[in-house]
Subunit: 357 residues, 2 copies
């Protein structure tokens, strides 16, 4: 794609969850249509898209037909099988590109990449067997966290190790999968930056948000975050460095730990990010539209924020409390259209406006 | 419907144009699904809805099946055949109700209703034949405007008469349809109020917007409008009076002429209104979500405005100029996904943020 997508252009989205749903709505604002590819039935994004393909990612014929039906493909999560993306790339552009995806799919590659840019991560060691883990524990010490290299999200595939004796049990708990051991970071709080890069290389970041997790799942993001001016600047600059190094196109989420000695990069996500949902009610152009603009070859929004916002995730049953939430007129409600409010499931979020920016 | 619609609830929308499209997106934010009923093929709303019925309003079986598939029905335009609505009302609630629709479908009924509330309209006369028109012209004088009683929009079905000699030609021009002759109003500018009323009778209005038309089609709406404090209050109060008198549920647009002797009601529209599009980028809860909240039995937003906005319609070719528009990051772009940019066709609009409220 060399020309910007014209109104009526079609965007393919791999994944039909809430992120795909909100991307689809953002595309509609710009006069663009979407085609959702999702293995599961009745996904949230199906309610707001022109076209839906229900097939596994391994269905090459379905993947090819999907790619042929659209002008550009993006994805709502980073655990897409690489074979499917290779197929698609032969037919149409994929944004963000496969390099970004490969880096963020693998915690070892990710940390090597970040360290290579001169950015600080937690001390870590690659774990391919129990012996690796035992050696790493003696070097990194405890407490430490054992994480599967791939396919983790929302705290899944992670075990906390407080004593070297727990090595075998911890390795069992992650099914002896390829893993990484991360050393303990003494951080005061976590922030994240939602950055974007356009096809022609322009970089724009939204203001950092401050994240609070509960049971391993993001609970709130508050904007503005508690950061010194220097930390704020650092966070934006390092996000720009990551975006440029990956020759990235689209929106990227960067999670950062704030420590006494500076910012430490926790992880990056090559997609719109839960901690950027506040932009829907805080900015003229939100992270979803920003992503669509980037992958469609449009100019980016400037990330300007008109309001202070507290984003609160609605997990499981919390989304049933809509009547009470709806009585607060300074709160934007965003529900995902999921049929079942299972425990730990993200059902929606609210953006509470707390003042003018 | 006595209980508020729960997430997953279904809203039927008659009409699949841009208003239906933006209503559907607003419903999705609240976790509600939509079913669009539209006679035309490939309507804008089809790109963002879970279900679509393509059938004429006279297809009673299709209308019944549609009504049975949803919890509540609303509409995006006031020229729905009453028979279709009668069918639907036997099966599920219709909001806004048929009284509001009947009043706004007919310019004579509308003016009688408004005058009955003590509100000022243009002087007018009912025209059922050329003789009526000649008599009315001698009474009301020229300039005057001859308008068909029903089915007019965007300046269609209207003829300006500057001399009584033009009576026959003017009556011909509207195909001798039942009509109304309206006397000339010496107004300085036009404003409109987007009001809403909930099922339990709460009334909320957005700030009035100031409208400028071009070739009979709304060109810009600017908020805040140029109004004295007293005029502002009058505009809100009279809108509330109209909403209450109609026992209205949903969003209503009220167009007002500002004159030296006070506000004159031009017309009312029982639906979301083009002059309320600014709310998408000026308020946490916009007119589309406000309408969905009202008809779904939810509490209303408070109409609070965080930004000053200039809404500019993109008519015909103007929507092709997206590249230039997209470079202004303080501008929200809203395109309707229409395939063809015909002359005079509303293709989209932009909301330019001009400052904090």
């Amino acid at each position: 794609m060399t020309e910007p997508l014209r109104p009526g252009g079609k965007i393919g989205i791999l994944g039909g969850g809430q992120l795909g749903r909100m991307l689809s709505v953002a595309a509609s604002r710009l006069g663009l249509q979407t085609h959702i590819f999702e293995p599961g039935t009745n996904p949230p994004a199906a309610q707001v898209t022109a076209e839906l393909t229900t097939a596994p990612y391994s269905d090459t014929a379905a993947i090819r037909a999907f790619a042929k039906s659209v002008d550009v493909v993006t994805y709502e999560f980073e655990n897409i099988p690489p074979d499917a993306l290779d197929e698609i790339e032969r037919i149409c552009p994929v944004h963000p590109g496969l390099t970004a995806l490969a880096v963020s799919q693998d915690r070892v590659k990710e940390k090597d990449f970040l360290n290579g840019l001169g950015l600080t991560t937690a001390p870590f060691a690659q774990i391919d067997g129990l012996l690796d883990l035992q050696n790493a524990l003696s070097k990194i010490g405890t407490p430490a966290i054992l994480k599967t290299r791939c396919f983790g999200y929302d705290g899944k595939g992670q075990v906390r190790i407080t004593d070297a004796d727990q090595a075998a049990a911890a390795f069992d708990a992650i099914n002896a999968a390829p893993a990484v051991l991360e050393g303990f970071i003494d951080f005061s709080h976590e922030v994240s930056v939602i950055g974007a890069r356009s096809i022609d290389g322009a970089v724009v970041c939204f203001d950092p948000g401050e994240n609070v997790h509960r049971d391993g799942i993001l609970h709130t993001t508050t904007v503005p975050a508690n950061l010194t001016s220097a930390q704020h600047t650092d966070a934006i600059i390092l996000t720009g460095r990551i975006l440029n190094a990956l020759n990235y196109v689209g929106v990227l989420g960067v999670e950062l730990f704030v420590t006494k000695t500076g910012l430490i990069v926790n992880e990056i996500a090559p997609r719109v990010h839960n901690s950027g949902h506040w932009t829907q009610n805080g900015c003229v152009i939100d992270q979803f539209e920003q992503h669509i603009r980037a992958i469609a070859g449009w100019p980016l929004g400037d990330g300007a924020r008109h309001s202070n916002v507290e984003m609160i995730n609605l997990i499981g049953d919390e989304a049933l409390n809509v009547d009470a939430l709806a009585t607060d007129a300074s709160t934007g409600i965003h529900l995902y259209g999921k049929a079942e409010a299972r425990m730990g499931r993200k059902m929606g979020h609210i953006n509470k406006i707390t003042g003018s920016a």
